[in-house]
Symmetry: C2
Subunit: 268 residues, 2 copies
């Protein structure tokens, strides 16, 4: 297995230094890659059952990335073998009036995972240090304050039993062009397309900068960021599945011991 080290965000991190076209976690031919992903998906299902049986901790997967970077596809394929009983997805859209009337972490806290559960956030509280930064609606001081608030919030979650995995799906501007064009040209995909996506695309460089700053400021020991080269969908899926399996294995689950009081009990 390739190493995650290069893709884990630390103080000296440069987003431009990671090529979205890299595929370090792809091995063998296409069939072998598909089989590897399916095997990982099955392993994730087993590990999710252990997380549930243990009943003490939670796992939170945060997925961020620009339009068409593959957040939905990641969820579909990485969790293709997991029961919907144990995996909950929350998709954060533009905040509602009620959500805007609270602090930016309020709606996320409400969607935090329960004991024994894997929760996936499809977009997250990180939108609130990306969109307003690019749009200029918050200044540097407020951005810095939000970074600190995010780190405090995530510390609360990790200290109370949540393991946090944060992945930024990193695609190239060319690959986004191809994927947006496909949404326009293929009638069956058009419902996924919004003209606003083209406006956001025009701010590509500003978003890359905002991502770089946000990731560097919020990649902590307890809740590190990983950048996922995502021009190849299969690479993206395999890398995230590997990261989740590695993380869950590291949690070293122990199922509760057999209860001696139940020994020999016969159901009438």
């Amino acid at each position: 297995m390739a190493s995650f080290k290069k893709y884990r965000v630390d103080g000296k991190f440069s987003l431009a230094g990671i090529d979205p076209g890299e595929t370090p976690f792809l091995e063998g031919n296409e069939d072998a890659q598909r089989e590897a992903l399916d095997a990982l998906a099955i392993e994730l299902d087993t590990l999710q059952n252990l997380l549930h049986a243990e009943g003490r901790r939670k796992l939170l997967l945060v997925l961020q990335g620009l339009d068409t970077s593959g957040k939905d596809g990641t969820i579909r394929w990485v969790f293709s073998r997991t029961s919907p009983l144990g995996v909950k997805v929350t998709a954060f859209k533009a905040p509602t009036e009620d959500e805007r009337a609270h602090d930016f972490l309020w709606r996320c806290h409400a969607a935090a995972p329960r004991t024994g559960e894997i929760t996936v956030w499809n977009r997250s509280h990180y939108e609130d240090v990306l969109v307003p930064v690019v749009e200029g609606t918050i200044d540097k001081d407020e951005t810095r304050q939000r970074f600190a608030q995010i780190n405090d919030f995530e510390r609360l979650l990790t200290q109370t039993g949540t393991v946090i995995v944060k992945c930024m799906l990193h695609i190239s501007k060319d690959e986004q062009r191809v994927r947006l064009q496909a949404r326009i040209d293929e009638p069956g995909k058009q419902w996924k397309f919004a003209l606003g996506d083209l406006e956001v695309r025009k701010k590509w460089d500003a978003y890359q900068q905002a991502y770089e700053k946000a990731l560097a400021a919020t990649s902590t020991d307890e809740a590190p960021w990983h950048v996922i080269p995502a021009d190849s969908k299969r690479h993206r899926n395999l890398m995230i599945a590997q990261l989740l399996v590695k993380t869950l294995k590291g949690m070293k689950f122990s199922v509760p011991d057999a209860d001696p009081a139940l020994k020999g009990l016969i159901v009438e």
Copy 2:
């Protein structure tokens, strides 16, 4: 395909008249059955995508049944091919203090499906016309009133775009004995067992009666109940998967037309 007619609850319904050991939806050998279930699960995934793409309606699957009747297993296998993006599960446990401080439909309404989504209720508002009836904490008048409130609530959901599928997983007392005993005897399953389950089992006949009354009183044209013979897990899964596929096909999805304004649009 077998007919659902016999299992659809109407005015002349008798729960005892349906043998939990029946397997009308099992055809061919074990391999063929597994393949049929997988094919249905893949079809459900396709139909869920259409539900999402259409963006107008919702599907609610209500699963009820006594302990070990297979609610969790149903969710795992029927939705084994569906992305967790499109299927949300809410498991209703004994109500919290906050939930008890509201009417019994309050927490269910809050968990109603969004547009484009399939939501599964693992237990539901029907617990509130089963447990209190068996325990004698509500009288006949209040029970009748709750049935009417349930029918009103479900009418609201169906009139606002929710298709409701309600399944009662029907197991025999013998099969429950075997499954509870397995939970006691197999160390890996013990965490699923609670001594309280044996107390509930002692009230088997009272629960059968309460189920019969509740199902008869709340099986409406808009939201009918089906009784699922569930001693065979594979039969249970196949029958529910067939019912869901039939229901979703009946919704006759149409994906939004291609937008002429987007014709020829080139992404820069």
